[in-house]
Amino acid sequence: SQQGEEDPQALSIQEGENATMNCSYKTSINNLQWYRQNSGRGLVHLILIRSNEREKHSGRLRVTLDTSKKSSSLLITASRAADTASYFCATREGAQKLVFGQGTRLTINP
């Protein structure tokens, strides 16, 4: 089952602009995570936000969480070519399983 759904599916912006991706989920959560995947590679954990947090920052990343709307957003500020990747949100289902969305494919144009 895919609990997290990212929006948009694809996003193309100019270098230096900000990129915003959204994730919606269906059930109550303890936390929500964002991962990045460079083309043809494995996923890398970026940031985790807990259900009692509304906003979290890590470098150029800002994540927000609205549990009333069951949604989260990932903002990447001052984008760089190296930010070109797919971005996935993930929530926990059961004791160990993570459920991933289908991802947002971000392209940063020079």
């Binding site: 895919q2 995570q33 494995g42 954990h45 993570l98 991933f100 289908q102 991802g103």
Partner: protein, 114 residues
């Protein structure tokens, strides 16, 4: 840093062959996972293991089996490969004791079944 390695980056097999995909992690994690990733379908969980010799079916276990004889190694087995198993396979591990649910991924194996 956690390191998860997978035995092959690219693999080409023929229909009907038995295929082994190996995954090794070096952080003593209890939990290990196998996913497949296909365009438009995202990551789908095939099997996971929460301890040595323990396994649980994920969302799409049909056509696959797994083996976890040692804590650090989790193998995915395609008993008789079929063309619809052509995909990117990702292994991940996670600790029970971590305060987060962070999974650490290997680089992936792109399997082509001809």
């Amino acid at each position: 840093d956690v390191k998860v390695t997978q035995s092959s980056r690219y693999l080409v097999k023929r229909t009907g062959e038995k295929v082994f995909l190996e995954c090794v992690q070096d952080m003593d994690h209890e939990n290990m996972f196998w996913y497949r990733q296909d365009p438009g379908l995202g990551l789908r969980l095939i099997y996971f293991s929460y301890d040595v010799k323990m396994k649980e079916k994920g969302d799409i276990p049909e056509g696959y089996s797994v083996s976890r004889e040692k804590k650090e190694r989790f193998s995915l087995i395609l008993e008789s490969a079929s063309t619809n198993q052509t995909s990117m396979y990702l292994c991940a591990s996670m600790s029970w004791t971590s305060s987060t649910d962070t999974q650490y991924f290997g680089p992936g194996t792109r399997l082509t079944v001809l």
